[in-house]
């Protein structure tokens, strides 16, 4: 790739203040034997250069699929709609070859399990050199020298020797560092990290997160971090999007999400995350299971599992609405914002949802059982 000319590649001449990544009404439908899986159901977000957005949710909430959609790595039969603008270029409208030229170059991805994501039969150096030469016309020795620099950059000791190692000869943390080196080979503007620490030991997790933070500072790239782990989010995220059943149900700065969450699902996630000062008995799992994305619950998709749902919530589908006095904070919930604020205060004090309901003067029937559309 030649240096980006903002007038080419269908890029708009946005000013420097424009976000690097703009996702608008992204939808992914995947045909399956049971029917169409609505894996991602109209999500929108923006991300500025040098910032980190964490996409949080349970397995099956559509967060990984949404990340793969940005990379253009979904299976052929997946139907993707909406807009994904990276630095002004509309990714979903690009042809296969144009998208391939951006992949691993302008945007790159780090996967969950580095042991299975690295090729077991090729040396680490070979795999990095290949990533460099996929987009840059450099001779092999120069690419190899660059690969060594990259291994050094991601904190692998004796990088010259490690070039000739096979993935199985490295520890889990080293493997993920090598994976990150591959992703950084062409200094992408956007790094998508899908559960980058989930397969690692806890101590190694902290090191890899620190590495990502350092690299972001040094290289100025934006990061989309897909995770189910709120501990990881607290560590690195500037902004947070909470996903449930293929949608963003709450969005805000990390500060807003942790100190004043405004969606019952986010409360559930926070209440099942262990804390050092907390008592383990306070860990409360969210009742029920994530819904099927083929036959989703009617109305608010969370109502079958929500302790505060009212009968009418099975009919009305809430939109993601900005909260009155918090810039950038939005939630998709049918309950009155004042009431939600009171409920969270009680929950934060360690009360159960039942106690919180009583304390907040909650009126309405007990949780409704789910109906499906």
């Amino acid at each position: 790739m030649t240096p980006a000319d903002p007038t080419q590649d269908g890029r708009s001449a946005d000013g420097p203040g424009a976000p690097l990544l703009r996702v608008e009404d992204l939808r992914v439908e995947i045909p399956s034997e049971e029917g169409i899986v609505h894996a991602v159901d109209g999500i929108s977000y923006e991300l500025a250069r040098g910032r980190t957005l964490a996409i949080v949710g349970e397995s099956g909430s559509g967060k990984t699929v949404s990340a793969l959609a940005l990379m253009g790595l979904l299976d052929r039969q997946a139907r993707v709609a909406g807009r994904v603008e990276l630095d002004g270029a509309e990714l979903l409208a690009l042809g296969k070859e144009r998208m391939r030229a951006l992949r691993g170059n302008e945007l790159a991805m780090v996967f969950q399990d580095p042991l299975s994501a690295l090729h077991p039969l090729h040396r680490v150096g070979w795999q990095i050199v290949e990533a460099i030469r996929a987009h840059r016309d450099v001779a092999k020795p120069a690419a190899r020298a660059r690969a060594k620099e990259l291994l050094d950059l991601v904190g692998i000791p004796e990088p010259g020797r490690r070039l000739d190692s096979y993935p199985h000869e490295l520890s889990g943390g080293m493997r993920q560092r090598a994976m990150i080196a591959i992703a950084l080979a062409n200094e992408p503007k956007l790094l998508i990290a899908d559960e980058p620490t989930t397969a690692l030991d806890v101590t190694v997790q902290a090191q890899v997160l620190a590495l990502l933070r350092r690299l972001q500072r040094e290289l100025g790239m934006a990061i989309v971090l897909v995770t189910h782990d709120l501990g990881v989010v607290a560590e690195v995220a500037d902004d947070v999007a909470v996903m449930y059943a293929g949608r963003i149900v709450e969005r805000g700065s990390a500060q807003q999400i942790f100190s004043s969450p405004r969606h019952p699902y986010t409360w559930g996630l926070l209440r099942c995350t262990p804390r050092l000062e907390g008592d383990l008995s306070e860990l409360v799992p969210i009742a029920g299971r994530p819904p099927s994305l083929v036959r989703r619950p009617s109305g608010c998709h969370f109502h079958p599992r929500c302790p505060y749902a009212r009968p009418e919530h099975a009919q009305i589908d809430p939109a993601l609405e900005s909260l009155p006095d918090e810039a950038g904070h939005a939630a998709a919930c049918l309950l009155d914002p004042e009431l939600r604020a009171r409920l969270w205060e009680s929950l934060r004090a360690g009360e159960s949802p039942e106690q919180a309901r009583a304390a907040a003067g909650f009126v309405g029937a007990a949780p409704v059982s789910g109906t499906h559309v």
Partner: protein, 320 residues
């Protein structure tokens, strides 16, 4: 690694010993005809038969015969002499080996080229019409007995009896050193017939293995790097899928070098398989014993080579 190879070679020797012992016992137990009587001819006097029996050493107890045989191999690489032509078994096999090697080498080349390319295309285009017709044809070739395919090929294409006479028929084999052109044309049909079922098996094997590998996480990584689809399939996919194919190839090569008996008989190619076949029909025991031992040797060697090649194909394998 060296220790590993040494141990394998030693075990190979043990195996060959067991194989020759078994053939000895089998020949003694089975009613294969009395070589002395066969050699003496119809209506020979009992004295003449007894004389021949003594001459061939067949009047000694079986364990003495076996001891002499093994001693001959170990000390002088002496496989004995044909009961009929009195030629040494080593020289007979050496005469026949070039034809067998010619047959095997050409067939292997053809089936690898065809099998591997069909396997790759079928895996990449899986569940398309192309894939289904390729796999259907493959099933046909796997199911068809090779002697039947051979006869069919002769019936259709042989110069003497064929409907479309384009290739020389059975019995036209000429040594490479004698006439390379005739060598080539005489082997085209046998190569194709021999390669057909192997190509089909290899195509199906590689297709399955490649489809599995193409679903691996590391293939997604390769795509995430922005590599061309061709490179993703060849350098990442096929590289990961080729190991089972190499295993089978090693064993098939070993087996074929021992003589492709049916093809050699159908096309009347003077190879080791044909030698063995004729020896069996004449109860020419030293030749049978020699060719079986040779076949077993090739299989043992091929097995060891396959195991060693594993260490190079997959760095995770460490030979102990």
């Amino acid at each position: 690694m060296t220790r590993y190879i040494l141990r394998r070679v030693l075990w190979g020797g043990v195996l060959l010993f067991v194989v020759s012992a078994l053939t000895f016992v089998l020949f003694d137990l089975l009613p294969s005809g009395d070589p002395a009587r066969l050699r003496a001819g119809r209506g020979a006097s009992p004295q003449a038969v007894a004389h021949i029996r003594h001459e061939l050493g067949l009047d000694k107890p079986i364990y003495t015969q076996f001891y002499d045989y093994v001693k001959g191999i170990v000390l002088h690489f002496d496989l004995g002499y044909s009961y009929f032509s009195h030629a040494s078994v080593e020289s007979l096999i050496a005469d026949r080996l070039p034809a067998t090697v010619s047959l095997a080498a050409g067939a292997i080349l053809i089936w690898l080229l065809v099998g591997v390319s069909v396997g790759i295309v079928s895996a990449v285009r899986r569940r398309t019409l192309l894939d289904r017709s390729a796999m259907g044809t493959a099933l046909l070739f796997i199911s068809a007995p090779e002697y039947w395919l051979g006869l069919l090929a002769l019936f259709l294409f042989a110069a003497d009896i064929g409907k479309i006479p384009v290739f020389p028929g059975a019995g036209s084999y000429v040594a490479l050193s004698a006439d390379p052109g005739k060598w080539l044309s005489s082997l085209v049909l046998p190569w194709l017939v021999l390669a057909a079922s192997f190509a089909a098996i290899y195509a199906r094997l590689l297709r399955g293995s490649l489809i599995e590998v193409l679903g691996e996480d590391y293939i997604r990584t390769a795509r995430a790097k922005g590599l061309s689809e061709r490179r993703v399939v060849m350098r990442h996919g096929v590289r990961g899928a080729i190991t089972p194919l190499i295993t089978v190839l090693g064993l098939d090569v070993g087996t074929l070098l021992g003589g492709a008996l049916l093809i050699e008989v159908v096309f009347d190619i003077p190879g080791v398989g044909r030698l063995n076949y004729d020896a069996i029909t004449h109860a020419d025991f030293p030749i049978v014993q020699g060719t079986i031992l040779l076949a077993a040797l090739f299989i043992v060697v091929a097995n060891i080579l396959v195991d060693i090649s594993y260490a190079y194909l997959d760095p995770r394998v460490r030979l102990r």
